[in-house]
């Protein structure tokens, strides 16, 4: 079972241990998140990167207790000493907003088209801080919007009067106006153009500095991770394959999946095309042992037999991969290469 060797330190805002989320389907349980552990410190941005279907959005919502009723959860999500998984729903609702925030992917659909931007802020502030006067609410809202680059002259406009990038800024301001300690940003720039994306990334960096907010930034784009995150967690098939300092992980990826994903990324510096054979597995019936083993160029005899325990490398990366041992748990002959079954395009993406 993957548990983090490190104990949470004093400035840890959020501590997730062995979190599991599964949905019942006609074909069986979909284990969207299957034993995930990580910590987030005050003012830190952790990038959660993975391909579609790896469970990253489910994880982001699970951490905030925002999953549909059909989803089942186990494990613990400790926020400021309280476990969000076991606490009463009313208590959780009270925390969402002032303590826990969420920035959605699609700014177009998350603002009420019939409400002025100002009314969105009045509603949010009034719900959580009913003692504020209207003038105080206006001051707070305009200050936060200003930090996001929305001029005060636009405060009483309707959402449709703003561009996509402006709406995303408004969404971020709405999430931050209550000054939460922890925010999940789920693909916050995916719907935006590259120049606007760069503006939003800069805003998130400023937010971290000035609000001291811990951010879980969910994205499929390794470039965004490199730009905006101190730490990165790479997710594959419901589990975190590797996590650690972003510079270390990018410079020396410990897990073959991280390495292959980096090689597949097409950037301006790319000189040859590379891809990972095969396709991400079906989470109803994932491969045995390490879930990446059928696609892994480094797969060994031990890989399909047991899931590797979490190991900490000398660069302080936590990795689930038998290449990093522990050697005393690998049976004799376990490090022999695993004959690769030919992956036909039939199984490929």
């Amino acid at each position: 079972m993957s548990t983090l060797p490190m104990a949470p330190s004093a400035d840890t805002v959020l501590s997730v241990r062995d979190l599991r989320v599964w949905y019942g389907t006609a074909r069986g349980a979909v284990r969207a998140v299957d034993g995930v552990s990580f910590d987030l410190k005050r003012g830190e941005t952790l990038g959660l990167v993975g391909e579609s279907g790896c469970g990253k959005s489910t994880l982001g919502r699970g951490v905030l207790g925002l999953l549909p009723d059909a989803a089942k959860q186990a494990g613990s999500v400790v926020f400021e000493g309280e476990d969000l998984i076991t606490m009463p729903r009313r208590r959780l609702r009270a925390l969402r907003g002032p303590k826990l925030g969420l920035i959605f992917q699609e700014p177009m659909t998350r603002l009420n088209p019939l409400m002025r931007v100002s009314e969105h802020f009045y509603e949010t502030l009034h719900a959580h801080e009913p003692d504020l006067t209207k003038q105080q609410m206006r001051r707070r809202a305009i200050d936060t919007l200003g930090a996001m680059g929305i001029p005060p002259t636009r405060f009483d406009n309707y959402p449709h009067e703003f561009s996509g990038g402006m709406r995303q800024r408004i969404m971020i301001a709405l999430a931050l106006v209550l000054n939460p300690a922890f925010v999940v940003a789920d693909e916050p720039t995916t719907a935006l153009d590259v120049l606007v994306e760069a503006q939003i990334l800069r805003i998130l960096a400023d937010v971290k500095r000035s609000f001291d907010t811990a951010i879980l930034l969910i994205t499929h784009n390794l470039g965004i991770i490199a730009e905006a995150c101190e730490r990165v967690a790479v997710m594959y098939a419901g589990r975190i394959a590797e996590q650690g300092d972003a510079r270390a992980v990018f410079a020396r990826p410990a897990h073959p999946y991280t390495r292959e994903l980096l090689a597949s990324t097409i950037s301006l510096a790319t000189t040859s095309l590379h891809y990972i054979p095969g396709a991400p597995p079906d989470l109803v019936d994932p491969p045995s042992g390490c879930r990446f083993h059928p696609r892994c160029p480094d797969a060994m005899q031990v890989c399909p037999t047991r899931h590797p325990p979490t190991v900490t490398t000398e660069l302080n990366q936590q990795v689930d991969c038998w290449l990093h041992g522990p050697e005393d748990e690998i049976p004799p002959g376990g490090t022999q290469p695993l004959p690769r079954e030919a992956i036909g395009v039939a199984d490929e993406a």
Binding site: S163, G165, V194, I225, L273, H274
Partner: protein
């Protein structure tokens, strides 16, 4: 490549203008409600076997351009010549046989396959529609060939599959199979990989390159992604607000981007390398409303290198005042906001901007505010385009230069650039930067 490449596709001053519907009264009386210039005078020529990348942000008109080439949207001006045939004035019935040679691959493979059709039916559909054959055996043979070509093998496993059984990458392969089954010469691919996962994108791009070589295809690759275009394209056309602003061989555009917009786009792509970080001097704002484009160069309000004659106007003044308020505390804003009357008076695009004073305030108060804004950031390029500022008539009138230029494409080496920085270079003289007031930052 042959020494004298044959031109397959020629687009000449192509325009797609969409009329704007005004209010009910406007529609009733047929008043002029203006138009959106989605594509506004685009020209290029593409040789057989070449790949043209049409790159731009959303709202740049790149998708409309791709569709207009196939006449999937009404063309309001200019010409499209395909393989020697002028498509512009053809009737739909005359156009239809031409469409066999020109096919399209759309962005979203989920939306471009009918969920109720198995692959045999879906991929064989064009053969029936275009009256190639109705013979079941022949259709099956052709579909098998197409599936093999796109790597969906063994074909027996795929013939009777439905889109719901396929992964994203497999669906996009099926869509490509359908596009090539008629043996087209030209494929217009609109963001064919942008919905796919990173680990799959390279595979689909590789497939498209293979098909190009095996079948002698010519591509128009429409994308927002300069990184994949770099890999894929021989020529690049950068679009902004309906126009090509830079055009040329891919290697030169990437090695030496000339238009400030192209330069910004290239700088804005986050590299998967934490030791590099994004440039700080990226353009502010977003692509403007195509119904009322900026005066002069469309990019000037965002351009880090804009200077006197780029088209400064009233709306830029409003943006400047709003940016000033953004950087000042709330109390100051409340006070200053009262100095100015209806700031929306600046929204009508004009080189003469009149900023009325607020109730109980004088023209001199407004003048003082503008002076303060100017003193705060004297390097702001807008001021270079101001000829005169005078108080009077209950406010301040700002006259911008009316000799601004809407830049055409200038020839600069092997590139064409629609930017006034190259106006002189176009006449085989080195670029004269003497008139440039704005600096890089």
């Amino acid at each position: 490549m042959p020494t004298k490449p044959e031109t397959l596709l020629e687009v000449d001053d192509l325009q797609v203008h969409f009329a704007l519907r005004g209010g009910a009264l406007g529609r009733l009386f047929g008043g002029d409600t203006g138009s959106v210039r989605a594509v506004d005078g685009v020209s290029f020529a593409l040789a057989r076997g070449e790949v043209l990348g049409v790159v731009g942000e959303s709202g740049s008109g790149k998708t409309t351009l791709g569709r207009a080439i196939l006449r999937m949207v009404p063309v309001t001006g200019g010409r499209v010549v395909f393989d020697g045939h002028d498509l512009t004035d053809l009737k739909e019935s005359q156009l239809r046989p031409m469409r066999r040679q020109m096919q399209m691959v759309f962005q979203d493979p989920n939306a471009s396959l009918n969920p109720a059709m198995d692959l045999l039916t879906a991929i064989g559909h064009p053969l029936r529609i275009h009256g190639v054959t109705d013979d079941e055996d022949q259709i099956r043979r052709e579909v098998c060939k197409a599936l093999e070509r796109v790597g969906l093998v063994p074909v027996e496993q795929f013939l009777y599959k439905y889109p719901g059984d396929l992964s994203g990458g497999q669906k996009q392969r099926a869509v490509i199979a359908r596009a090539i089954i008629l043996g087209p010469d030209l494929l217009i691919a609109d963001e064919p990989v942008s919905m796919l996962d990173m680990s799959v994108r390279a595979k689909i791009l590789e497939l498209m390159l293979e098909l190009k070589n095996e079948l002698g295809l010519t591509y128009v690759y429409v994308t927002h992604d300069l990184a994949t275009a770099k890999f894929f394209c021989d020529k690049i056309a950068i679009m902004y607000l309906g126009r090509i602003v830079e055009y040329g061989p891919a290697e030169e555009i990437y090695a030496d981007p000339k238009h400030p917009y192209t330069q910004s786009l290239l700088k804005a792509i986050p590299e998967p390398d934490p030791t590099k970080s994004l440039a700080r001097d990226l353009p502010r704002g977003e692509i403007p409303d195509a119904a009322v484009p900026p005066l002069g160069c469309s990019f000037h309000p965002r351009c880090p290198k804009a200077f006197e004659i780029c088209g400064w106007e009233s709306r830029d003044l409003r943006d400047l005042i709003e940016r000033h308020w953004l950087t000042h505390p709330d109390t100051e804003f409340d006070e200053q906001r009262r100095v100015v009357g209806n700031i929306a008076a600046l929204d009508e695009p004009a080189v003469r901007a009149h900023l009325p004073a607020g109730t109980g305030r004088s023209a001199e108060d407004v003048q003082a505010l503008l002076d303060q804004i100017r003193a705060d950031d004297p390097r702001e390029p807008l001021w270079s385009g101001v000829r005169d500022v005078r108080a009077g008539e209950g406010g301040v009138t700002v006259d911008f230069r009316d000799d601004f230029v809407d830049p055409p494409l200038y020839d600069v080496g092997r590139q064409q650039v629609a930017c006034l920085l190259y106006r002189d270079a176009a006449h085989d003289r080195p670029a004269n930067d003497a008139g440039v007031v704005a600096s890089d930052d």
